[in-house]
Amino acid sequence: MKKSILLAVIGMTLLSSCTKQVSLKEKMDTKAQELTEMAELGTVEYTITKIVKAEDIAWYKIGDRKILFSCKAVLKAGIDLSEFSSQNVEIDEETKSIKVTLPPAKLLSLNMPPEETKLAYQKVSILRDDFSAEERAKLLKQGEEAIIAEVPKLGILKESEKNASDFFKAMLSQMGFSTIKIEFK
C-alpha cells in the first residue's frame, strides 16, 4: 500500500515537471506574432535620463542592500490619426483656406533599451543575498512606471501639438492652401 502511494507521488511529481518543460518548449517553438495597422504621426522625441535607486533595510534583517541604476528612455509623442476623417476638415475652395481639427497629442511610445540601463552602484552586506535578476527587473519596471507617471509634467504633449501644427501647416501650404488653421479637440 505504502509502496503504491510512494510510486503515485513520484509519478505525479515527474508528470508535473514534464508539463512545465513541455509548455515552455512549446512557447519557444511557437512564436506569438501579431501585426496591427495604425496611423500615428510622431512629432516630438524626448530623451530622458533617470536614476532608479532602492534601499533594502528593515529592523528584522541583518545588514542592508542598496542598488542604483542609471537609465535612459526615449519618449515619442504625436497624433493618432486613425479616427481622423473629412468631418475634421473645413475647406473653402475660393479663398484656398482650410481648417483642420486634430485629435489631442498623446504619448505614442516609450523605449527603455536594456543596453542603456547601467548598474551604477550596488552594495550588499555580507549576510545578505545579492539582488537577483528578478528583483532588479522589478525595480526597473517601477522605474519605467515612474517615467510614464511624469509624462504630463515633462511638457512633451504641448510640444508635440505645436510640432504637429507646424507639420500640417507646412504640408498643406505645399499642397496649395494659402490660409491654414490647425486646432486640437
Binding site: 495604425m38 535620463t49 528584522y60 535578476a133 522589478k138
Partner: protein, 207 residues
C-alpha cells in the same frame, strides 16, 4: 504527563495559527518580507528634445522565450575543467545555471516624413502625387515591464541579463523583418495617407 500534553497542544495551536497567518499573507505583511522592494522617488531629466515627423503605419507584436545557460563561478575554473573532462559534460551542464526570460516586444514601422519638401508633391486638379521615402523600422521596443523572468537558477549579473535582453531585441527586429513588416508598412501607409489626403479634398492620390 498532563503538562506535556498541554505543551504539545500549545505548540500545535501556535504552529497551525502561524501556518494559517502565513497562508493568508498576514505574517509577511507584519514582517514586511512579502512586500515588493520600492524605488525611491527621483526626477526624470530631459537630456534632448528633437522635432520628428514619423508616420507609423504598422505595429508588430511578438512574444519571445530566451533560454540561456552558463557555467557557474564554482565550475568556471581549473577544477571545473577537470570535472568537465572526467564526466564528458560541458561546464554549463555541470553547473546548471539557467535563465529563462519571456519577452513581449513591439516593432513600429512607417515613413520618416521629415525630408518632405515642396518637390515631394505635384498637384493637377483633384489629383495629388506624393514621393514617399522608403518604409523603415522606427522603433524596436522591449521595456523592463515587457520582460518576465520565468526561471532563474544561479547568479546572473546585470550585464549578463542585459546581454540576453539585447539578444531578444535583435531577435524581435529580425522576426519583424522576416514577417514582412516593411512591405506591410508601405501598403498600409499608402492606404492611410490616401485617406488623409482625400479628407483634404483630393479625389485621386498617387505615390
Amino acid at each position: 504527563m498532563k503538562t506535556l500534553i498541554k505543551l504539545i497542544l500549545f505548540i500545535a495551536i501556535i504552529a497551525v495559527g502561524g501556518y494559517f497567518c502565513w497562508q493568508k499573507g498576514w505574517l509577511n505583511q507584519f514582517l514586511g518580507t512579502g512586500s515588493e522592494l520600492k524605488i525611491d522617488q527621483t526626477a526624470s531629466i530631459v537630456e534632448e528634445v528633437k522635432k520628428i515627423s514619423e508616420f507609423t503605419s504598422v505595429k508588430f507584436y511578438e512574444e519571445l522565450v530566451i533560454d540561456e545557460k552558463k557555467a557557474s563561478k564554482w565550475v568556471d575554473n581549473k577544477a571545473g575543467n577537470l570535472l568537465s573532462k572526467l564526466t564528458g559534460k560541458d561546464k554549463k551542464e555541470i553547473s546548471n545555471d539557467e535563465l529563462v526570460i519571456i519577452a513581449k516586444g513591439t516593432v513600429r514601422a512607417g515613413f520618416d516624413l521629415s525630408a518632405i519638401t515642396d518637390s515631394s508633391f505635384s498637384i493637377h486638379g483633384d489629383t495629388i502625387r506624393m514621393v514617399l521615402p522608403q518604409a523603415k523600422i522606427l522603433d524596436v521596443i522591449i521595456n523592463p515591464s515587457d520582460f518576465e523572468i520565468y526561471e532563474e537558477d544561479g547568479e546572473w549579473s546585470h550585464e549578463q541579463v542585459v546581454a540576453i535582453e539585447s539578444k531578444a531585441t535583435k531577435q524581435l527586429e529580425q522576426d519583424a523583418l522576416e514577417y514582412g513588416i516593411l512591405e506591410k508598412a508601405t501598403t498600409t501607409g499608402k492606404q492611410k495617407l490616401t485617406s488623409l489626403f482625400k479628407s483634404f479634398g483630393y479625389n485621386v492620390v498617387e505615390f
